[in-house]
Amino acid sequence: MPETTFREALRQTLREELLEDERVVLMGEDIGAYGGSYAVTKGFLDEFGPDRIRDTPISESVVVGCGIGAAMGGLRPVVELMTINFSLLAFDQIVNNASKLYYMSGGQINVPLVIRMASGAGSQLGAQHSHSLEGWYAHIPGLKVAVPYTPADARGLLKTAMRDPNPVIFIEHTALYARKGDVPDGDYRIPFGQAEVYREGKDVTLIGYSGSVYQANGAADLLAKEGAEAEVINLRTLRPLDVETIVASVRKTHRAVVVEDDWKFGGFAGEIATIIMEQAFDDLDAPVARVCGADVPMPYAKELERAALPNERQIADAALELV
């Protein structure tokens, strides 16, 4: 199990898929000559050529729509949308075509498409470039949504995504690209809908996904110093969601805090909290708490941005209030 970065895990996995299956084609802005805005596709253009590594115009809607059509036509396209912010311009294609084709056609046409996008805030990119909207994709029947946290997740979930006959939204938090971890090689796949108990504990359950598992785990460290054992859950996929693992943990700890970078109001954290209430109401000693992004467009100024995002201390305090 060689140690490698989240970025490199993605790169190696994509490379393997390109080598293994001629039908795999990558499309996106600046994935070729530039090497990928987050360098995930670096070197691919030289190795696989312009037919399979396709630099696109800045036209998100047709890039995604073309990926959908290519999947309908027998390819295994991987579309890179650079960041989730730009996916808003391709929203109609994802919501109205990708997610609905199999159903609308009465099962005749499926869309084996992977759409990768960087997500999250934290590097002062301002209001228009700091969204965390994966919860919106999780809302849509017909889509699957993968939210890797570790480099191993990145590899295992991407392998699974590449073999799924349905459209998969693949979220890459920008804060994770440079982080290292052990990554199994070979045909390592993580099934969708199986969360990971990232850390065991008995006093409170901290639930996160993608980047927010990091803050949840940091909060668990603080809590450990302060005498509480927190269990940390890394969801790995939002749709399907591993309700069993979540509920089993809460049955044990009787308390839960959901951590999400996105805005709290109307966000996905509310779904998790509600499911816990629905399925473990009598096991709860306190209401499920949410620690999420501040209800404001993301400000540029460093300290304001920091204050707008969930941090270890807030999470730990929220947990302590429940205990």
Partner: protein, 333 residues
Amino acid sequence: MTQLADKPPVKELDKGQRIDLLRQMMLIRRFEEKAAEMYARQRIAGFLHLYIGEEAVGVGAIAALNDDDYLVTHYRDHGHALARGSDPGRVMAELFGKDTGVSRGKGGSMHLFDAQRFFMGGYAIVAGHLPLACGLALASKQLGNGRITVCIFGDGAVNEGEFHEALNLAVVWKLPVIFLCENNFYGMGTDIRQVSAVIEVYKRAQAYAMPAEQVDGMDVLAMYEATQRVARAVRAGDGPVFLEAITYRFRGHSMADPEFYRGKDEVQEWRKHDPIEGFRRTLADEGVLDDAHHQALQADIEEVVNEATRFAEESPFPRPEALYENVYKEGEA
């Protein structure tokens, strides 16, 4: 199954083939008149967009394609599905929302699908299917299966951003697509002159250096000729082509349309150019089709449409469990 050979030039069409073009238009006309009747009798609901008046466009263009060339179109799609050979009974059953419908009753009038016939669907978001056409064409190009993709849309779709993005990408990647615009001068109730900076739609293709031409969409042979000709070039790898078919919708936009926006006289004027009556006369003048033969055709079509309606009527509705089926495909891609 891929047939790399192209369809014959228009002048090589024999009598039978030309009569079949007329027959197809007559079938679509009759089918939709019946559908309108069934809508009034509440067998059909939702939006129902009739193709009446525009039959020559789809029939002429689709006849000039290979059976495995991809077709994607907008919500005004009955004529396109029938021209592609979909079973009238299964199409009518779809309008009725029956389990035997081409889309198992889940799509409805705006979302006919017949993948076996490479009819990749009717779409209800204006211009939302143009990007899909690029993708289907990219797949054919990459897989080398010799297929081209024909994408049909209206004059209203031309002002959507996706039109622009799709045409540019198709040229940049030299994709085998024919963009076929059915210009009937109105987008719902809006006159193209009110909303388009350039109303000769084919000229829009200049911005992408894409070959483009205007065709008489009321003349089925003109549609066949143009499509057959450009299909050869597109299949040969010359890149995408844009066709603008000038046509007119004799009925309202959908069943609900009060038609405040256009005069009855304008409609009457266009009805004089009825593509079916016009082509029937041509064939009669050429002695290809006499009245007796024409009446036989009508009778035959009447029977087909009645049979289709009976089939739809008698077919079962989807089982309740069907609600949760086909959301996700199982297994591996």
